[in-house]
């Protein structure tokens, strides 16, 4: 068998094995109370989920929150990255703060965001914006530093002014690091938004997840998780393709928020 065929075979086999084992455990009653619901129930729940208009309203809410967060955090991040990248002194003064502060769990800021922005979507947008600011800023900064100084000198010999330098030399060289930063930022924004929604919200996919938990509708929770995972993975693959180069294992890590 060709190796392509082997790979497909292995994948198919593992998926089938998981499904079969799942169904066996589900029907055996081994784990208590619906923790492993039958595949049929999950499929039904998935069907109900995707055919209900309500679902899409919630998806819309989450998407809206994420988009706004990415916009705010992204623009702020790019700006910060450019400023720090352009001025060496500022960079050496503030980059450590970006770097170390970026490695802290932002979710715990949620109570503060709620105090400042109320219990509506704004608090989640603010939290997610703070979250995605850091990878974008750091990625942009590293991109700025990576620009070949020769290009800048060429620009100077042609007497390029600030705007021209930014537009014609910096931005074209930066589009890949910026995209990488945005992709990482998107992953974080999604995670943080969803988690915040599970904590305090009455809209959005995160809310639906915690709601399913509260009423102990496990098939529905599985259906929701599957849908969300599919979206997140899909979005990431898409962005990785856009970024070009080896998509592969450079897919972003949604665990580092």
């Amino acid at each position: 068998m060709s190796s392509r065929g082997q790979i497909f075979g292995i994948r198919l086999f593992s998926v089938l094995m998981v499904l079969v084992l799942w169904e066996i455990i589900a029907r055996s009653g081994l784990l208590y109370r619906d923790v492993v619901p039958s595949l049929i129930e999950i499929s039904m729940a998935l069907k109900n989920l995707l055919s209900s208009a309500d679902t899409y309203i919630h998806i819309g809410w989450t998407a809206w929150e994420v988009a706004l967060a990415l916009g705010i955090g992204g623009i702020a991040g790019i700006a910060a990255g450019i400023v720090l990248g352009a001025n060496d002194l500022l960079r050496r003064a503030y980059e450590p703060y970006l770097y170390y502060f970026g490695a802290t769990p932002k979710l715990i800021f949620f109570p503060v965001m709620i105090m400042w922005f109320g219990i509506g979507p704004s608090s989640k947008i603010a939290l997610a914006a703070v979250s995605c600011f850091f990878p974008v800023a750091l990625s942009t900064l590293s991109g700025m530093r990576g620009i070949n100084p020769v290009f800048l000198r060429v620009g100077k010999t042609f007497r390029a002014n600030l705007w021209q330098t930014v537009g014609k030399i910096y931005l074209p060289a930066m589009h890949r690091p910026i995209l990488t930063g945005l992709r990482l930022g998107l992953g974080l924004a999604v995670v943080v938004t969803l988690l915040a929604e599970t904590k305090l919200s009455n809209q959005g996919l995160g809310y639906l997840v915690i709601q399913a938990f509260t009423i102990f509708d496990m098939p529905r929770m599985y259906a929701l998780l599957l849908t969300i995972f599919a979206f997140a993975i899909g979005a990431n693959v898409l962005l990785a393709r856009l970024e070009g180069g080896r998509g592969g294992t450079r897919v972003g890590f949604s665990s580092g928020y």
Partner: protein
């Protein structure tokens, strides 16, 4: 300017900025330009630190969080490294699963915490399990990368000496990949810690994350801010420590 002073100037600028911001906040809050029910004055926050130690048992909570992080780290070291090694050893498995694992790294695994709440209850087990699963793909991939990047010539040396397959793996490939494996474990540990604090916060159980949640529910503003600062401090210390450790290990290997 001497070399010394050029190194200190940026640090001074950074620190000065922080102080200026704190002083500015103190001022703005005291003259009510900023509502003190939105943000307590920094002096109150620093005052609250004392309470954290005396009444809220913050030290104990730190150890709970640290313990959970170490437990997750332990699981990651075993399953993450073994997983990466297996994928490397069996190329066919790698071709089949590597992209799937990379995809999983992009998925919000931590969102499945309610599921684990049901399975494992409201306790440390859930926290550790969720964090472990969230960080696992990263460790596997980094380990795999470490093995793949071993210069081929090292293996040739082993082969030319007629070393057995196991000898080549244990005496050549593994030590050669160790620096990358450490980086992966460090990254995984960091992810795990972030997730642990986050989940503690969400399910109100465990150590520092729970502290923040509890204090916020009690509307103790100053203490909430103080607790958040505590978490930041701990994670920065953790991050720096792991960087230092990695650099030391790198010198030896």
């Amino acid at each position: 300017m001497s070399v010394r002073s050029t190194k200190l100037v940026p640090i001074a600028i950074g620190l000065t900025t922080v102080f200026v911001v704190i002083l500015l906040l103190e001022f703005l809050i005291s003259v009510d330009i900023i509502d003190r029910f939105l943000m307590p004055p920094p002096s109150d926050v620093f005052g609250a630190f004392g309470r954290l130690f005396a009444q809220e048992n913050v030290v104990n909570r730190f150890f709970v969080t640290a313990g959970e992080t170490l437990a997750a780290g332990f699981l990651l070291a075993i399953f993450g490294v073994a997983g990466g090694a297996l994928l490397f050893r069996f190329t066919i498995l790698r071709s089949a699963y590597e992209t799937w694992i990379a995809a999983l790294a992009a998925a919000p695994v931590v969102l499945s915490y309610p599921l684990f709440l049901v399975i494992a209850g409201r306790g440390s087990a859930t926290v550790i399990l969720v964090a472990f699963l969230a960080a696992l793909p990263a460790v596997i991939l980094k380990t795999l990368e470490g093995f793949s990047q071993t210069p081929g010539v090292y293996v040739l040396v082993g082969k030319s000496l007629n070393a057995s397959r196991w000898q080549i793996f244990s005496k050549v490939m593994f030590p050669a990949a160790l620096p990358s494996i450490f980086v992966g474990l460090r990254l995984g540990l960091l992810f795990a810690m972030l997730n642990i604090v986050g989940v503690e916060f969400l399910i109100n159980t465990g150590g520092l994350g729970q502290l923040v949640n509890e204090l916020s529910e009690r509307y103790d503003l100053a203490a909430t801010y103080a607790a958040i600062l505590c978490v930041i401090l701990v994670s920065v210390l953790f991050f720096t420590a792991s960087e230092w450790l990695e650099r030391r290990l790198r010198r030896v290997t």
